[in-house]
């Protein structure tokens, strides 16, 4: 397994290089850091020269990329001009931690609820519960994230306090003053993040379980007199999890890479909001570091999924 993981990591290097170059090239085409000075009435040429020096804008894109890559692999992530020229590395970990605070509970809830609702729906196909879960799933699939997030704000931060006299959750902001305040501030964004993904995951797992439910080996197990609980936990659940792992690996990369919309709506200072701020400010070093993180997350979770396939199903070999 170790050799397999190592081989996959090496194979990821060209993917990483191609992806980062594509992002660097694309970003350089659409972002001009000197734009911020366009209407500055008192900016001298020196102000432009400073930005040109900082980003080496007088060189072509491949040379600039090579320079960025050289700095990056030696640990120099650059300075974030949109953040008072603080080291990107410092901001990177700070905002990464904030995204983790949001993504971790969302991810574990997503896995738990996705599996629970998907399996329940499949095992109780065409029951009231199945219809209810199906309806809510369709609602989740159809509802844009920004709409759902704002809806939660209105219901739980405006209407509930107004009509019930208690305010259970914050409408926006990250509150770390106490564990209770953290829960009050993280709940609505976690629900928002989770709800849209949960709808898809639940449907996917339901379909997977339904497929396996009618498989020959399940019928054989039942015919052998294996208890229903054992059939579900040992045979059905385990095999249904193989496709689910694929979906969760994609979910994990999306969640841990930061959510542009959810973080913006709930004023959560994570990677997603940072990416928008960096893009608006033409902060190339910061943008590239965030892109790097997302690429690494996608590669890492895909690798993890490949390893997990083998753990779940020993027939899968790492040849």
């Amino acid at each position: 397994m170790f050799i397999f993981a190592l081989r996959r990591l090496f194979a990821a290097i060209p993917v990483f290089l191609v992806a980062t170059f594509a992002i660097f090239w694309g970003t350089s085409e659409i972002v001009d850091p000197t734009d911020r000075l366009a209407t500055c009435q008192t900016c001298s040429q020196a102000a432009y020269d400073r930005i040109i020096d900082l980003y080496e804008l007088d060189k072509n894109v491949p040379l600039r990329y090579a320079s960025w890559l050289g700095d990056f692999v030696t640990g120099d992530m650059g300075a974030a001009t949109s953040q008072g020229e603080r080291p990107v590395s410092e901001i990177f970990w700070e905002r990464g931690r904030n995204t983790m605070l949001l993504a971790l509970p969302a991810f574990f809830l997503l896995m738990g609820l996705g599996a629970a609702t998907g399996i329940y729906s499949a095992l109780r196909q065409y029951s009231k519960g199945d219809y209810a879960i199906t309806s809510i799933s369709y609602l989740g699939l159809a509802m844009p994230t920004f709409f759902f997030g704002l809806l939660l704000q209105v219901v739980f931060a405006i209407w509930v306090p107004k009509y019930l006299g208690v305010k259970p959750f914050w409408a926006s902001g990250m509150h770390l003053e106490s564990p209770l305040q953290f829960i009050r501030s993280v709940t609505l964004p976690v629900i928002t993040l989770m709800f849209v993904l949960l709808a898809g995951d639940s449907r996917f797992i339901r379909a997977s379980v339904l497929d396996i439910k009618s498989a020959d080996y399940i019928r054989t197990a039942r015919a052998k007199g294996v208890s229903e609980r054992k059939v579900i936990s040992k045979h059905l659940f385990r095999n249904a999890m193989i496709p689910a792992v694929t979906v969760w690996s994609l979910d994990a990369a999306a969640l841990f890479g930061g959510s542009l919309i959810t973080e913006t709506i709930f004023s959560w200072p994570g990677f997603g909001r940072l990416a928008i701020e960096a893009l608006q400010a033409g902060d190339l070093d910061l943008l590239m570091s965030i892109s790097f993180a997302i690429i690494v997350l996608v590669i890492m979770f895909n690798l993890l999924a490949d390893i997990l396939y083998g753990v779940i199903d020993p027939r899968i070999r790492y040849d």
Partner: protein, 635 residues
């Protein structure tokens, strides 16, 4: 079973509708807002009543009101640092955050006039026989920094020195870093600040703790803009590099920088909030707009960085914020002004929107065509249809008619009064006189210049601007113009279109270099103020702030003359004359390259159900909602 399934489906459907209904009515959180009044027009059509917009003064501090509490302001933008002159900064939010922290010799009142802020009285200007001037200043008694150190004339001298020492001054007055090579410490405080005029200072003499004299090589009308922030000699840094570092973080090795304003910087949790606390050593506000001349009523201010406009409104409604101030957007006017818990307040600001004409364009190079455009536009209709419902009568109903003086300033004259209302006949007569004729579909064409199609561009995504473009587009269609809207999203518009390298090269060379076809008409805002001379660069030949291609030696000669005019009334008249070059054809065929549309209102929503006193009304200097922070008071 079938019945059960139907029941489940029905419940799901009802639930879905309930959610959608809840979201759609999110702006009508209470009964009163649901009963917004409607009026019926004379021809029987229903139209929404103008939103109730307060343009009068906000509630005065209530003697019965309480002291204490933290004022929370939700705002979408977060500055990169607190150093306004950092080339990566220069953002309005930075100056808004600094305004309650630090004061200058002069402040700017709600009437967009200078008032002595740290000064006891107006400075006395003495003109010497050799053309030099000496300006005598007297500071107020009892001025103090928040750490208890007296604020004296030496602090002003320190500020002067720290701005200029180690810096080189360019011909246009901008300061450049005279000695720093790449990778080395800066030798002067960052070089983008508005220090125009400081190069004229030849001597600075401190006469006592409260009196000092500044000698200038010649009179400079913008002298009151100098030293608009006075730094503390004992705390802001011993050299330029230290000052740059300290200003960026608003802290030195000993802690936060001391304040001369009513608040002290406290902490900054990046991406979340910036906190200030009350300065109990504050010497009191000298602003004619402030009602409280003591320390602030509130214990502190928290600025929450809330990026989304809808979330800002929800934060207000959820009681998580007390004030919002933003670009005047439709969402705010529509969703907040009808709610009795909020007061939406606006006032005429120093920023004005305009249509700038590229005089190198094949059609617009003809003054008759430019005048036809002015005739064909009806600013009144734009105001009535778009601005007045949101901002009340804080802006002139006929739109703006001057680019040097704003409508709320004394010397303001509407130079475009002759173009008021839509005069399609005059517009078409102009076009015909210029050789144009109807191409058959109402759009005119010229035998050599072709069809009269012009592109107008701005920063896309701003609903108010885009609606304004559409209204004017429809108006001009009646006057033979085909206007195509050609926006670029966000701030990239400036660097890619009117201020692009190619466009500026064309504007500076009369079209000999660069590319004069990049744009035809641009819409954006310039910032005015009590000293309008700073904006005259927009018409100077070859100036980087003149993308229009305007060139007139008389204008170039008059602009510095205005700035050198000592007499206030004469100088005001001079700026008005300068404006005639820009907004009319009175001064020759090169004129009328700017069509001012309206001042941008400063626009606030605040929770009047919680605040008994608010300092948000007069903000003509664009200093933000904290400009009179001493007046905010909770009920």
């Amino acid at each position: 079973m079938i019945r059960d399934n139907k029941l489940a489906r029905l419940l799901a459907l009802v639930f879905a509708f309930a959610l959608i209904a809840a979201a759609c009515s999110s702006d009508g959180g209470d009964d009163t807002s649901a009963e917004a009044p409607e009026e019926t027009t004379a021809d029987g059509e229903e139209e929404e009543a103008p939103a109730e917009t307060t343009t009068t003064e906000p509630p005065a501090p209530d003697e019965e009101g309480s002291s204490g509490g933290t004022l929370i302001w939700a705002h979408e933008q977060e500055p990169p640092d607190m150093h306004l002159d950092d080339p990566n900064n220069g953002l309005s939010i930075t100056s808004w955050l600094r305004s309650p922290l630090i004061e200058g010799l002069y402040g700017i009142s709600g009437a967009t006039e200078y008032y002595p802020e740290l000064l006891a009285e107006e400075a006395v200007v003495n003109q010497n026989e050799d053309g030099t001037v000496s300006i005598d200043y007297v500071l107020r008694d009892g001025l103090m920094w928040s750490d208890g150190t007296p604020l004296t004339a030496n602090d002003v001298l320190y500020t002067h020195n720290i701005i200029t020492e180690g810096c080189a001054v360019e011909d246009d007055g901008s300061i450049v870093d005279g000695g720093a090579a790449e990778g080395e410490d800066s030798t002067c405080v960052y070089f983008t600040g508005g220090y125009v005029g400081i190069e004229l200072v030849t001597a600075f003499t401190v006469n006592s703790d409260t009196e000092f004299t500044v000698e200038m090589a010649s009179f400079f009308a913008g002298f009151k803009a100098l030293y608009s922030d006075v730094y503390a000699a004992h705390a802001y840094g011993d050299d330029a590099d230290a000052v740059n570092t300290n200003l960026a973080e608003w802290a030195n090795a000993d802690g936060v920088l001391p304040s001369s304003g009513p608040m002290i910087f406290d902490s900054w949790d990046r991406g979340v909030a910036l906190n200030m606390v009350r300065n109990d050593n504050y010497h009191g506000s000298n602003s004619p707009d402030a009602r409280n001349d003591g320390v602030a009523f509130v214990d502190g201010v928290q600025v929450n960085f809330v990026a989304d406009t809808d979330t800002q409104i929800n934060s207000l409604k959820a009681g998580e914020a007390h004030i919002v101030m933003t670009q005047p957007q439709l969402a705010f006017g529509e969703r907040l002004s009808s709610d009795e818990n909020f007061t939406v307040n606006s006032s005429a600001g120093p920023v004005y929107e305009h249509w700038g004409l590229n005089v190198l364009n094949v059609h617009l190079q003809d003054p008759l065509v430019r005048e036809a455009l002015a005739y064909g536009m009806d600013k009144n209709e734009v105001m009535t249809g778009l601005y007045t419902p949101l901002f009340g009568d804080s802006l002139p109903a006929e739109g703006l008619g001057n680019t040097m003086w704003m409508s709320n300033q004394g010397p303001y004259v509407d130079h475009q009064a002759m173009y008021d209302g839509r005069n399609s006949e005059a517009a078409l007569a102009n076009l015909e006189a210029a050789g144009y004729s109807d191409s058959g579909d109402g759009i005119y064409e010229h035998p050599e210049r072709g069809r009269l199609t012009l592109r107008v561009g701005t920063t896309g995504g701003n609903a108010l601007r885009e609606l304004q473009q559409q209204i004017i587009q429809a108006q001009l269609a009646d006057s033979g113009f085909e206007i195509e809207i050609d926006n670029v999203d966000g701030g990239a518009y400036f660097g890619e279109v009117p201020f692009s390298e190619e466009a500026l090269a064309a504007a500076g060379s009369g079209g000999a270099e660069g590319d004069p076809t990049i744009w035809d008409i641009t819409q954006f805002a310039w910032v005015g103020g009590p000293w309008p001379g700073g904006g005259s660069a927009a018409g100077l030949t070859g100036n980087g702030n003149n993308p229009y291609g305007h060139s007139n030696p008389d204008y170039d000669a008059l602009a510095p003359e205005c700035d050198a005019t000592v007499d206030d009334a004469e100088r005001a008249a001079c700026y008005n004359e300068l404006d005639l070059f820009r907004t009319t054809l009175e001064k020759g065929d090169t004129g009328l390259f700017m069509i001012p549309l309206t001042q941008k209102p400063s626009y606030y929503g605040y929770l009047s159900s919680v605040l008994s006193g608010a300092g948000v009304a007069p903000d003509a200097q664009g200093a933000g909602p904290l400009t009179n922070v001493v007046d905010f008071q909770f009920k």
